[in-house]
Subunit: 187 residues, 2 copies
């Protein structure tokens, strides 16, 4: 839990009690690459922190695999469109590189919010930051060419391109794999 606690500390330092309460509702899970950590159709009841490894959220549109997002070491991953609505998720979480994750039971976490406002505040801040990232991503998608989006990703998150199969990156950028390959050829 060490890394996770450090991550927490940056967002909103917690008391010992609060940290212990979180530890009690969390499990450490090891999972191999290409496995689904969470599968399509189930309601999201877990928030994950990635101690080690790489993961993505994906779904199918017209039978085609589309990557919604990537998450790396030292970050949170959750299917928020299910977590915050209680509806079943059409998305899955897949591990792309052998991982160790902290799995936090969301229902129990939400109960902790009542006794530990500081925990509620922590996760408020975590998801506010994630929200901001998502808003920025919309901006990136609105009026940038595929090539601009690729180059931006190359700058902002080169590790995505180092660690993730290109076919997953292509759909993340909103283009086909063939287009991505063509764009990469332009250099």
């Amino acid at each position: 839990m060490q890394k996770f606690f450090q991550y927490i500390h940056k967002f909103n330092p917690l008391t010992k009690d609060a940290l212990n309460a979180i530890a009690e509702i969390s499990d450490i899970i090891e999972i191999k690459r290409n496995k689904d950590l969470q599968s399509i159709g189930h309601t999201c009841k877990t928030i994950y922190f990635i101690n080690k490894g790489v993961a993505r959220i994906y779904y199918f549109k017209d039978g085609i695999d589309i990557t919604e997002s990537f998450s790396f070491e030292n970050n949170i991953i959750a299917r928020v469109e299910s977590l915050f609505t209680g509806k079943p998720s059409r998305k899955a979480i897949q591990i792309l590189e052998d991982a160790e994750v902290v799995a936090i039971n969301a229902n129990q976490l939400f109960k902790l919010y009542d006794t530990f406002p500081e925990i509620e505040r922590l996760f408020r801040k975590i998801f506010e930051a994630a929200y901001v990232e998502t808003v920025n991503r919309i901006e990136g998608m609105q009026f940038h060419s595929a090539e601009e989006r690729y180059n931006a990703l190359l700058n902002e998150a080169p590790n995505v391109l180092m660690k993730v199969p290109l076919k997953y990156v292509a759909s993340y950028l909103g283009i086909t794999q063939v287009s991505l390959s063509r764009i990469r050829g332009h250099r």
Copy 2:
């Protein structure tokens, strides 16, 4: 404040005290169409609730006006990428239809979070819901044609197309006004 209180009630009912505390840090503002409610370059320190009217968030990319989002009666609007980071916003809020809004002082609101956990919870839930909408919008932009996006908007939010000049809708959809007009002609 009546409408705003009703809106609050749906998310997270508050005690009288909490409602009063919010009322104390809020102003009611009337503003005419085409005016900027907030301008580019300033750090966002206000969260708005729209009692009446229509607004949009916009910014410029390469000198071109791009609509990030629309907000209508009975909804919150804020430039979260500034509000939650404290950085100046590159975006503005413009009124598209004569409006009456509740302006909530964000700094004072954040202070209220300390004394009223229920208020913190309220806004946590409000922004969680907004976050979910944004995630869903990414999905819409990833692998839908401009025409699909237009038709989806026509279904989900026909009022956007009724009340908003098409030039603003086009950039919201991520296409040029000329393309939007062409798509509309296809029927």
